[in-house]
Symmetry: C2
């Protein structure tokens, strides 16, 4: 069986969790769900499966330092710095080049650094099922059984499920649906949310990139000999910037036959905005969820987050109240997804 490596993808912007997240401190690096940051939780969750020496962190130049400080157990050479963000196809292709230098026969599990996973043990069990399925598959994707007609996620249709718990044949990937289709997908029973977690043999991934994204592969092939050479840095950057900006889902997975889907055994959320904390944290009797000290009096359904002292909600309902980095956000839960509008109003430094 090929040796397993992990690629933890820590790209992304800092807009949706203002004031806690910022462009200089985006979502993976904030302690959104507890005392540890999301990327720290991600590394710890993977430890039962593979040692830190086989974990790679895909990261932008701007966040190399903070990532190193937060993850001292990861060897410095395992931080793969992208000159610019070029979406997940380029990201994973670039990581595959790094892994092949280490182990040409390795396989790679690619996990976003900013997900909520309820149960770390179930998570490892699920990934191990993926490892077991990989010999029979071109690649493995992990799917989440939908419990609501979410329009914010992509879906994956599978062959009608056979024996419970087994891996399934992927029929097709579906982009974020409208509400009507989302309800159909949930009702059908043969659709899963796309978790964004993929498992590939490294060699196969590069071959699939070659087949389905020849322009990207050409760039990667040129990068191959430049990796790790300080004097080739400018050249590497020049080529990387020109790589096409496509996700691995659209660029490769959609076009690939023989993919298998392993249903996740764990509760999952991509924690897209403050509103998602409601699904990831325990509720009090009045439906309030909180991280940090809080007092709720005649308050219902509120989400509070404090990195400092107590947040007191009194006589309000369904609000998000965040105190972080000396700033405060108050907005209704149902406006959480619109936070980008507020960021724009906050001005260029996001702080006013």
């Amino acid at each position: 069986m090929p040796r397993l490596y992990a690629v933890i993808m820590a790209g992304g912007r800092g807009e949706r969790f203002w004031p806690l997240s910022t462009d200089s401190m985006p979502k993976p690096f904030i302690p959104l769900l507890g005392p540890r940051t999301l990327i720290q939780q991600t590394v710890e969750r993977l430890l039962p499966l593979l040692p830190p020496g086989r974990m790679f962190i895909s990261i932008g130049e701007a966040h190399r330092e903070i990532a190193g400080r937060q993850l001292p157990q990861i060897p410095p050479e395992n931080f793969i710095v992208e000159p610019v963000g070029r979406d997940t196809a380029a990201c994973l292709g670039f990581c595959a080049l790094h892994i092949e230098r280490r182990d040409p026969d390795g396989s790679m599990v690619a996990v976003p650094a900013d997900h909520y996973i309820a149960d770390a043990k179930a998570y490892c069990r699920t990934l191990e099922k993926g490892v077991d399925a990989l010999p029979r598959a071109t690649g493995v994707v992990f799917g989440i059984r939908p419990n609501r007609p979410e329009t914010g996620y992509g879906y994956i249709q599978v062959e009608p499920p056979g024996s419970a718990g087994a891996d399934l044949s992927v029929l097709r990937f579906v982009e974020k649906p409208d509400a009507v289709r989302a309800r159909e997908y949930v009702a059908a029973g043969s659709y899963y949310w796309n978790s964004g977690i993929f498992l590939w043999r490294n060699r196969t991934l590069l071959a699939l990139l070659h087949e389905h994204m020849p322009e990207l592969y050409l760039g990667l092939d040129a990068l191959r000999s430049l990796i790790g050479r300080d004097e080739a840095r400018a050249e590497l950057q020049r080529i990387f910037v020109a790589l096409p900006r496509i996700s691995i889902d659209f660029g490769v997975a959609e076009k690939t036959s023989g993919l298998r889907l392993v249903p996740a055994e764990f509760a999952w959320d991509d924690i897209g905005n403050w509103g998602a904390l409601e699904r990831a944290l325990p509720h009090d009797d009045a439906g309030n969820v909180a991280l940090g000290q809080y007092v709720a009096l005649d308050a219902r359904g509120c989400i509070t987050y404090s990195d400092a002292g107590t947040i007191a909600t009194f006589g309000v309902s369904d609000l998000i109240v965040v105190q972080a980095l000396g700033k405060v956000l108050v907005c209704p839960k149902d406006r959480a997804a619109e936070l980008k509008r507020l960021i724009a109003a906050l001005g260029p430094d996001g702080a006013v």
Copy 2:
């Protein structure tokens, strides 16, 4: 004309402006309306009328130190420390004892340390009118022309007004009315809000206390010889604790004939809770008022106060949002008066 002294009354609790105010830092000592604290604003407002050497600060033992730090221009011997709070009749009687040692013929303007006064010049003009009226009066009270049927203030009925701007004869003091009566009072045109600001000849005040509150006067008479003597401290405290707890309004003013009312020329508010900031601070186009940095997007009628970074209100209305001392309060404006319930829920140290 008798020399004028001021007594600035800085008693009171810290409950209504949590988290900014606390029992150890009550309302007079917080920067509620700008960079200066309310007691600092009070002293500065009086400076055109009398020098700091003639201002006395009536204060509880627990707040002597903070008051001294906030008011370095007041001579240390002018801080009159009450062993315990015994309401305003005992407070002003005790202060009168201090003033008579300095100047047996002086007069005293007694002002609460925690009011909002819109216009300091008009304030001084109004007090000067009081000084002019004092020779024709037993005492002078300053009244605020009501602009709404407020049920949270006491009212003072006067003789039907004669020439505009002149002082008026006080008919009676009325306790906080219900809403129906408050509307009647406002409609009648002969009622003023009781500002709690009084002007007395010191000697007259002591005589009135003697006449209307003989028990209190007996206590004060016993205190007279103990003031300023360190070795008599325990004795002073023993007597002070036994003084009756009555306000100057009920204990003296109500029972005194010959009082004159000077109508205030300035906008006034007793800033009873966070909701009052709306009447004391400028509004933006959407009716939001703020102290400290704020951004309001789709937010209307909110009150925000920050002693740290930006408060962002997004898609909410008529909320109070306070960030102070690392804590946060969110409540609807119309619940501001109920904040004591929250304080109780916060536990004994008010901080949880």
